[in-house]
Symmetry: C2
Subunit: 528 residues, 2 copies
Amino acid sequence: MSGVIPIFLAGLCFVLLRPTCCSGSRILVVPVDGSHWINMELILRELHSRGHSITVLRSAKSWYIPSTSLIYNYINVTMLEDESDMNFYNKMLQNVMECRRSPHFISTFCQQHLITSMLGNGHEILARAAATMLDDLVFMKKLQDAKFDLMLTDPALTLGVLLGSYLKLPMVFNVRWINNGEGHFTIAPSPVSYVPVSGSELHDQMDFLERTKNMLHYFYSFVEHHFVISPPYSDLLRRHFPPGTDLLSLERAADIWLVRTDFVFEFPRPTMPNVVYIGGFQCKQSSPLPVELEAFMQSSGEHGVVVMSLGTFVSSMHREAIEAIAAAFAQLPQKVVWRFVGERPSSLGNNTLLVDWLPQRDLLGHPKTRAFVAHGGTNGMYEAIYHGVPVLGLPLLFDQFDNLVRLKVRGAARVVEAKSITKEDFLEALKDILETPSYRDNIQRLSQLHRDRPMSPMDTAIFWIEYVIRNKGAAHLQSAGFNLPWYSYFCLDVAVLIMALIGVFVWGSVFVCKILCCRRSRRKMKAE
Amino acid sequence: MSGVIPIFLAGLCFVLLRPTCCSGSRILVVPVDGSHWINMELILRELHSRGHSITVLRSAKSWYIPSTSLIYNYINVTMLEDESDMNFYNKMLQNVMECRRSPHFISTFCQQHLITSMLGNGHEILARAAATMLDDLVFMKKLQDAKFDLMLTDPALTLGVLLGSYLKLPMVFNVRWINNGEGHFTIAPSPVSYVPVSGSELHDQMDFLERTKNMLHYFYSFVEHHFVISPPYSDLLRRHFPPGTDLLSLERAADIWLVRTDFVFEFPRPTMPNVVYIGGFQCKQSSPLPVELEAFMQSSGEHGVVVMSLGTFVSSMHREAIEAIAAAFAQLPQKVVWRFVGERPSSLGNNTLLVDWLPQRDLLGHPKTRAFVAHGGTNGMYEAIYHGVPVLGLPLLFDQFDNLVRLKVRGAARVVEAKSITKEDFLEALKDILETPSYRDNIQRLSQLHRDRPMSPMDTAIFWIEYVIRNKGAAHLQSAGFNLPWYSYFCLDVAVLIMALIGVFVWGSVFVCKILCCRRSRRKMKAE
C-alpha cells in the first residue's frame, strides 16, 4: 500500500519506446512503486530470463522503478506535482499517532479514516490519469498495435486494471491490496466472523466485541468502496466500457491472482481456484556480509546481534522515541545494527552500529542475529519468517499493525507502541524477545512450515503467468457468482419466493381450518 | 459413492496383523471399497515405494481390496450380511429409472430420496460397527500401541474419521464425497447461487427457477445430514469424544483434504487453504494394446473406433435399451469395442466387438478412438478428459448425472436418458458426437488445460501426505470459523446488537424530536 502514493500524485504523459526484439511473449506491466516494486521486479527478472519481452508503465519521478533497465522497456509517466513524499509520510505518521491515543476500539477506525482520505484523493487523480490515457486515441492505438499477450499488474494501482481490461488482455495480478482492503475480500466469500478486515488489527479468533468491531470495519470498507473509491471512475467507465461495468467487475475478471500471502503468516480463510499464493517469494538464502559488517557480527560473541530497520520511515519518528530506543540498546549485552538516517542519538551506546543502509536479508540469515526490530512491513515480516528471527514490532503506518498482529498471536513477535515508547518498555520487550526461547522456537517453526512447499513460490508465480499466456486466459477458473446481481448472489430473490410460498401455505391452511371449524360449530349449533 | 455399500452391510471383527518392518512412517488407511479403492491403491503404491509402512482396514468380503498385498498389511473386516451387491444396484437402478419418469424439477429430489434411504441404513450400520470397534479396548490398545503417524482415509466412510479422531492422529482425506454431498460443502463457504448442490444436476449458471431448485436441494441435504446421517452417531460420540463433538466437527478437523477434483471438470467455487486438488491423479499415458485388440482398432481405418463401458452396471440395463444400443452401433461406419456382460444382443452388428473387460485407459489414449460411450463415473470422466475423447453419456446412478452435466455444458459430451433410450435417439446423439468437430475440440481443450499443471497431481498428493507426517498435522491451515457456533459464524448475534443499537438510536431520536416539538407547540400556544 505504501507505494501507491507517488503515482497518485501524478498527471501522466507517455512516451512509448520501441519494443525490444526478443523471443517469448509480450508482457505489459503496470507496477506499484515503492516496496511493491521490489517484489514485482524480481518476477520481471525471472520472466526476462525466460525470454519474455517486458514493457513497464512507470512514473518519470519514480522512487524505485529505474528508467534504465536491461530487462524491460518502459512507458514513461511524468509527475505533475512535486510534493515531498517524506513530508506526506511525516504528516500521515503524526496523524496516526494522534489516532492511537484514542481507545483501541476507536483508534483503528480513526486510522482507517486517514487512509480513506488518502485513497479518495489518490483515486480521483488516478481516474483522471486513466481517462487522459484512454481518451488519447493515438496512444491507445500504439498500445493496441504492440499486441501484448498479457497485462501483469499490481491492482493496488487501478491504472493497470483499467488498461488491461480496455485492451482486452489476459490479466495476472501480483496482489496483496486492492482498492480498500486485502485482495481476498474482493474475490472470495470472507465471513467476517473469522476473517479480520484489513486495518481492524484483529485476528481470526474473535470474541463478541471483536466480531462487532470487525463487522463495523467491514461496513466501513463497504461504504468507502461505494462512496469514495468507485465514484471517480464512473464517468470513465461509462464512456469506455460496456454498460454496467464497475471497478469491481473489472478486477474480478483477472485470470490469476498471485497473492503475496502465505498461510503461515495470514490467517486461514476462504479462497478461490484462481488465487495462487506466492507469499515470501522474494526470500532467498543469505549471502556473506561485507567484511566489516561480518567482523562486527562476530564481535558480538555468544550474545549475538539485534538488527533494527524501520524501512523508509525512520526519520518520521519523534526524537524522544529515538533516544529511548538508543538508550535501551545501550543496556543490552548484544550488539546492534541499526538502519538509521538523521541526527545521531545522544544516548547511543558503544554496542550500536548506525548504518544508512543494511543488507537486511543477509543480516537476518546470519547465525549471530537474535532479534529483528522492525516496523512490520510485509517484505520484512516474510524475511523474518524465512530466516526464523523473532520480531520486536514498532508499527507506524498502514498494514504494519495488522502484520504484526499475525506474528504476535503466533508467539513469534512482541509489539510496542511508537506513540508512547519509553526506554523501559522497549528494553523490557526486547529482553523478553531475546531471553524467552519460545519466540525463537515459534518463528523457527513458522520458518520450517513456510519453507516446506511443493514448489518455490517464485517458480509457482512464473508457472501461472506463463499458464495464462499459453492458454490465453484462465476463464475456466473464474467464478460464475461474479456475474450475478447482489440479491441473486445472496439468493434473496429465492428466499422471498420460498417465504411467500410458505406464507401462502400457512395462510391457506389457516383459512381451510377456519372454514372447517365454522362448519363444525354450525353443525354443533344446529344439533343443539 | 458407489463403493460405500459393501462395508455398510458389514458387522466387523478385526484381526490386526503384525506390522511390517520398513523405513518411513506408519500410515493407517481406511479406504472405501469399489471404484474409490482403485484411486486409493495408486496412492498407497506410491507411498510404499517411498518406504512408508501401510496398514489398511479392509472388509473380508471386499470386492476390490485384496488381502494379499506386497504394499500393505491389513486389519480385516468380516461381513455379517451376504446380500448380493448386484441385486442392490439392480433394485436401485430400477427405482432411479422410475424417478426419472417424473418431471425434471422433481426427479432429482426423488433420486436424492433413494440415496437418503441408502445412506440412512448405511450410517446406522457404520455407527454400530464403529461403536463395536471403539468399545473393544484390547483392539484399540493394539491400534494405539502401533503408534501410527497418520490416518489416510476416504471420509465417505465415517469409520476412518472416527478412528483417526479417537486415536488423535493427524488426518489426510482422499475425498470427493462426504456424508451427504460434495466435500466442499463441508469445508468451504459455498453460495448456492452459483455452486450446484450434489444431485441437483445443475450447473454454475442458473436461472431463477434453477437457483430455487438448488436452494431446495441444499435444504434437503441439510435436513438429511441433521436428521438421517448424524443421529446414529450421537450415542457413540457422547461416549467416546469430548462433549459437543459431532460428525461434522471431526471431519472438519482433518489436516489436509486431497480432493479428487480439477477445475477443468468441476465448476469454480470457493475453497480453503487446506484443500489440495488432485483430480485425475490416476490418469497416465496409454500403453500399447494387446495384439488382437490393436489389430481390431487398426481395422477401423479412417473412421476410427467407439469405446463403450458402463462400469459394473451394464447388466442392470433393461433388454430393450441394450438392443437399441447394439442396433445403433450396427449402423455406424466406425468399429465399436463394448465392455459387455450378459446375453449377446440379437441386433449386434459385425462392427462391434464385445469384451467382458477392456483396458479403458489404453483404449481412450489410442489414436483411433473417436468417442467414449460411458455411464459418467468420475474415473472414466477424468480419463476421457486426460485423453481428449468426447463422451456420449448414459448416466444410471449416483453422481453420474452430475458428472455428465459438467462435460455437457462445456460442449464435450452429450447425454441420453437410459430410461427411454431408442435406437434413433442413441444413433443421432452418437453421430452428432462423431461428426461435429466442436465436441472433440472442446474436450481436447479441456485435456490441454487439465495436463497443464505445475506438478503432477500424484506428486502433489504425496507431497501433502508427507507434509502432514513431517509437521505432525497442518493446524495452521485450518479455519477458525469451524469453532464458532452457527449464529456467531453468520454474525447473527452481532447483527442483533447492531440492529438493537440502531433501534434505540431511532427510538431515542423520535423521542427527543417529540419532546422538542411539544415544547415548541407549548411555547407557541403560550405566545398566542
